[in-house]
Amino acid sequence: MSKKPLSLTIVPMAVIIVSVFVIGIAGANLLGVWKTTNTKEPVKIKTGEFAGLPNPADIRGSYTWADVGKAFNIDVQHLLTAFGATDPAVKVNTLETIYTKETLPAGLEIGTGSVRLFVSLYTGIPFTADEGTVLPISAIAVLKEFGKADSSLIADAESKAYNPAAKQQSAAAKAPATTTPAPASQPAAAAKPAETATAAPAKPATTATTVKAVPTAENPAPAASAKTTSTTVAGTAETHEVKTGTVTGKTTFKDLKDWGLTEEKIKSATGGKIGPDSAVIKDWAEPNGLTFSELKPKLQALLDAK
C-alpha cells in the first residue's frame, strides 16, 4: 500500500503563514531580538589610539540630540545651541529640513554629517567629514569655548562655516535697493551669534591634519584628548580640487594603486583585506569592520613614505 503524500489546501496554508509570523515575532520578542529601532549606541573604535571610544562616524540621523549627548558625554545644551535646536528629543536628521538646499550655498550641507563633525571637534575623536559638510556659525562659538580638538581645526571649520548673517549682508550689498528677507526655514539661533561670526571665504579643500587635542580647564580631557587626533574638515564643493596622493573620503582603491601603492602595501594597512578597484575606501571600511578615520592616516603614511 503506497503512502499518500501530505497535502496542503488554502485554509491550512493561511493558518500556517499567519501562525509562523505571529509565533516567530513573539518568540523573537521573548528572546529580546525583535528590535525595530537602533540602540542609539554608536559602535566603538576597535583599534588604534582611540580604541574603545564611540565613533562619531556612527552617529545616525535617527539619534536625538539627547542620544548624541549621552553617547559622547556632551552637554546636550551645547548641542542645541550649536545647531539652533530647542528640543533634545528631536532627531538630528531634522537638520536637513531646517538647512535645506535652497537655504544653503550650492555644494554645502548641514545635516547628520555636520553633527558628526561637531562631535569630533568637541571631543577630539577623529572623524573625516564628507566634502561640503559644514557647521553653522553658531556651532563654532560653542567649539571655541568647549572644543577639545586643536584650535587650528576649529579655525578651519570656522572658515567654512555657514553664516546666515553674512549671507544676508552680502545679498544686501549686492542689491542695496531691495530688501532680502531671511529664508523662512532659516533657524533663528543660527543667525543670532553674528557678533562671533566671521565671513566664510571659499577655501581649497583641506587634507588630513594631524594635531594635538587641547584640553580646556572647563572640560578636562577625556582619555582620547591627549592623544594625536586626525580630523578632516571638508572644503566646499566649488573650490575642491583632488590632490594626487592625498587620501580623502572619496579616494578609491584604484586611486591608491594609481598613486603607486601595491596591493600588499594597502593590505598591510587594512589588515589583509582589500576592496574592488571602484570601491570608495570610506564606504568600504565600515562593512569590513574598519573605520576610515583609523585607516586614512595609515594609508596616507604609506603614500607619504613613497
Binding site: A14, I17, F21, V33, K35, D283, P287
Partner: protein, 296 residues
C-alpha cells in the same frame, strides 16, 4: 444548483488568500505611516516601525555584514533579520509564499491587475511575447546580484532609491528619490498590462525566494492520469507558468498562491495539489509527454 454552490465555494476559498494579503498590506501601511508620524512628533498609540525594520530583504542583504563584522547594514534592524529567517523557513517548506500571500507590493500589483483584466480581458497578462518574456524573467537575478554586491561594498541600503515598494509607503515623506517615483510609476503602468511586473522582472527578494522553488519541501504537483488538459491551471497562474505541462511545478517564478490547484482553478478534484514533494529538480523539466507515458 450543486454546480453553483461549488463555484461559490471556490470563490470563497480563493478570497482567503486575498484577505490574508489585505491584512498584511494594512498592517505594513499602518506601521510604516505611524512610524513616520512619530518621527515628526505626532504620536499615535499603535506600535510603529520603519519600513526597513519590517522588510525581510534588509535582513537578507545584511547577512554578509552580520557574519563578517557582526553589524547590520545602515537603517536595517534586528527585526529585519528575524523576518528574513521566517521568510527562509517558509520558503524552504512552501516556496515563495511571502510573495504570494504576504508582500504588500505584490498585493498592490494584483489590485492594479484587476483593473487591467477589466480593460483588456483575455489579452491581459499576455502582451509580452513568450520568447522575450522567458529571458526577461532572469533580469531580477541581475538586480539581486547588483543590490547584494553594492550593499556589501557600501554598507548602505542601496536599493532604497530605486525601490517602488519603499516609494509606495513613503511617497509623502520627502525621503524618496526621483528614481523611486519613476520606478513606482512604471510598475503602476505596467501592472495594467502584465500581472505582477515588478515580481516577474525586477524584484531582488522575489529572485532570492524563487531559488527555493527548486528544492522546496511542499510544491504544486499535477496528477497526470486525472488531468483533462483543460489548461484552467495555466490561465489562473498570475506568473504565466505552464502548470498543465509539468508533473511538479519547480518553475523559479512560482509564488505559491495556490490559484492553480483543484481547490480553485482546476475542475478535477485532487489533480493539481500542494503536496509534500518526493521529486527532485529534474522534475521541473519533465513535460507532458513524459508524464503521460509514465501514466500509461
Amino acid at each position: 444548483m450543486p454546480q453553483k454552490s461549488a463555484v461559490l465555494k471556490r470563490k470563497n476559498v480563493r478570497n482567503i488568500r486575498h484577505i490574508v494579503q489585505a491584512a498584511f498590506f494594512i498592517l505594513v501601511a499602518v506601521t510604516a505611516t505611524v512610524s513616520v508620524l512619530a518621527e515628526r512628533g505626532i504620536k499615535i498609540p499603535i506600535p510603529d516601525a520603519s519600513l526597513h525594520a519590517i522588510c525581510p530583504f534588509g535582513g537578507v542583504v545584511s547577512f554578509w555584514q552580520l557574519l563578517n563584522v557582526g553589524t547590520l547594514v545602515k537603517k536595517v534592524h534586528e527585526s529585519s533579520v528575524v523576518l528574513a529567517v521566517i521568510g527562509l523557513l517558509l520558503s524552504l517548506l512552501f516556496g515563495p509564499v511571502i510573495c504570494g500571500w504576504v508582500c504588500p507590493f505584490g498585493t498592490f500589483q494584483e489590485w492594479l491587475g484587476k483593473l487591467g483584466k477589466k480593460l483588456f480581458g483575455k489579452r491581459y497578462n499576455h502582451f509580452v511575447p513568450k520568447n522575450i518574456d522567458r529571458w526577461l524573467r532572469y533580469l531580477r537575478y541581475f538586480v539581486l546580484a547588483w543590490v547584494s554586491y553594492m550593499t556589501i561594498i557600501t554598507g548602505k541600503l542601496i536599493f532604497q532609491d530605486y525601490d517602488p515598494y519603499f516609494t509606495l509607503f513613503n511617497f509623502w515623506t520627502g525621503e524618496v528619490a526621483i528614481t523611486g517615483y519613476i520606478a513606482l510609476a512604471l510598475v503602476i503602468i505596467l501592472s495594467l498590462f502584465v500581472e505582477r511586473p515588478f515580481c516577474k522582472y525586477a524584484c531582488p527578494y522575489g529572485a532570492f525566494q524563487g531559488i527555493f522553488n527548486l528544492f522546496r519541501i511542499f510544491g504544486i504537483r499535477r496528477n497526470a492520469p486525472t488531468c483533462i488538459s483543460c489548461k484552467a491551471c495555466d490561465k489562473a497562474c498570475p506568473m504565466n507558468i505552464e502548470v498543465s505541462t509539468s508533473k511538479v511545478v519547480r518553475d523559479h517564478q512560482c509564488i505559491s498562491c495556490l490559484e492553480c490547484t483543484s481547490e480553485t482553478a482546476c475542475p478535477v478534484p485532487a489533480t493539481v495539489q500542494m503536496l509534500a514533494l518526493p521529486g527532485t529538480v529534474q522534475d521541473s523539466f519533465k513535460k507532458k509527454s513524459e508524464t503521460s507515458e509514465a501514466a500509461k
